[in-house]
Amino acid sequence: MPIPVLMPALSPTMEKGNLAKWVKHQGDKVKSGDIIAEIETDKATMEVEATDEGTLGQILVPEGTADVAVNTPIAVILGEGEDAGALNN
């Protein structure tokens, strides 16, 4: 089943942030601990790590997007044996 990557809260008070940069790109293999994106908060730029293993199937929020609410899906990771077709399910 495709796994959504959510916009993380990087401090207890953060409600939204800017998607500064995608470090991984659509189709890239990712594993737990890989840095996939950079998020700008009101205080700092933080790195987002993958917590699942698979392929970065689709980027839902392009880099440079400002004010992305916490918990918004920003990308989808496809598990082993899944292809882009699984995204339609």
């Binding site: 990087l10 401090s11 737990s32 700092a44 916490v70 918990n71």
Partner: protein, 344 residues
């Protein structure tokens, strides 16, 4: 007192260097798989905790143990039932290694009623007397005098238990550490002080904050023996742990183990960790990772197959997902609980 000093395993400002396989005793198939499983449980649990923090399910402070897993897992392999463990606030790994229930730990992180402190303590404040885990302490270095007190109680009650007292390289510069060292050596208390040197006290590197960067020598003026250990190699940790615990249990007094380790994440969840380079983190992750070392060794020696290791990973993910599920749906504490478990 004659003190057997060990040669330092690595220079203090550098990451722990891998030793030749021949210089470290092997764990054997079953123990190695057990170490792999326990380190992986901590790793996956902490990754999930980080994710849940990001979803707003965990509030307040949260300090992850990712990268340091071999230290606590190796030390647990060197002790016996009844020995005590106490640490600071980077404590989730210690709880899991002590055998505490991942559901209860995760539910405490999310502040729910079936958490270890009924949802009132959070990340820094969990105990389990049944698992001889004595916290979980929020005040930097406060656990060092408490851990020394546990050892004093062991001596007073004439049991043969040893207190494992963990603290970081930052806490090692606090005054009460040295008052504790003095009393521990004076009364020959059964305590092993474990300095988890992950090279940064919050954002300050050891070399910027410490006059003596070799923490294994910090007991020298009290005649407390110490050694530096490759804290990324679970075999080395266990071997050093056994030496230290034996020393303390036999009535020789305290012992210091400096674990050369590294944390991959920031000090806490809101630390962007700009005081070190991405390359530095990546180098440790690819060359010294405590879990990958064991995985590679087991595969190379055919002590475990890829299938077995994958099955362990799937089992661990299931345990962690169940803990997360439990911690998400368990109710919050009843407001009436606000007035319980407090001293008036």
């Amino acid at each position: 007192m004659a003190v057997a000093k060990k040669k330092p395993a690595a220079p203090p400002a550098e990451p722990a260097k891998p030793k030749l396989a021949s210089s470290v005793p092997e764990l054997g198939k079953e123990r190695e798989l057990k170490a792999f499983r326990e380190m992986l449980l901590i790793r996956r649990f902490e990754e999930k905790a980080g994710q849940m923090y990001g979803m707003g399910l965990i509030g307040g402070f949260c300090h992850l143990y990712i990268g340091q897993e071999a230290v606590v897992v190796g030390m647990q392999m060197a002790i016996k039932e009844g020995d005590q463990v106490i640490t600071g606030y980077r404590d989730h790994g210690h709880m899991l290694a002590c055998g505490m229930d991942p559901k209860g730990v995760m539910a405490e992180l999310t502040g729910r009623r079936n958490g270890y402190s009924k949802g009132k303590g959070g990340s820094m404040h969990m105990f389990s007397v049944a698992r001889t885990f004595y916290g979980g302490h929020g005040i930097v270095a406060a656990q060092v005098s408490l851990g020394t007190g546990l050892a004093f109680a062991n001596r007073y009650r004439k049991n043969d238990n040893v207190s494992l007292t963990y603290f970081g390289d930052g806490a090692a510069n606090q005054g009460q550490v040295y008052e504790s060292f003095n009393m521990a050596e004076l009364w020959k208390l059964p305590v092993v002080y474990i300095v988890e040197n992950n090279r940064y006290a919050m954002g300050t590197s050891v070399s910027r904050a410490s006059a003596q960067t070799d923490f294994s020598k910090r007991g020298a003026s009290f005649d407390i023996p110490g050694e530096q250990v490759d804290g990324m190699d679970v075999r080395a940790v266990k071997a050093a742990g056994e030496r230290a615990v034996k020393w303390a249990r036999e009535g020789n007094g305290p012992y210091i183990l400096e674990m050369m380790t590294y944390r991959y994440r920031g000090h806490s969840m809101s630390d962007p960790a700009k005081y070190r380079t991405r390359e530095e983190v990546e180098k440790v992750r690819t060359e010294h990772d405590p879990i990958e070392q064991v995985r590679a060794r087991m595969l190379a020696s055919k002590r475990a197959s890829e299938e077995i290791l994958k099955a362990v990973d799937a089992e661990i993910r299931k345990i962690v997902n169940e803990a997360a599920e439990f911690a998400t749906h368990d109710p919050e504490p009843d407001p009436a609980e606000l007035w319980t478990d407090i001293t008036r």
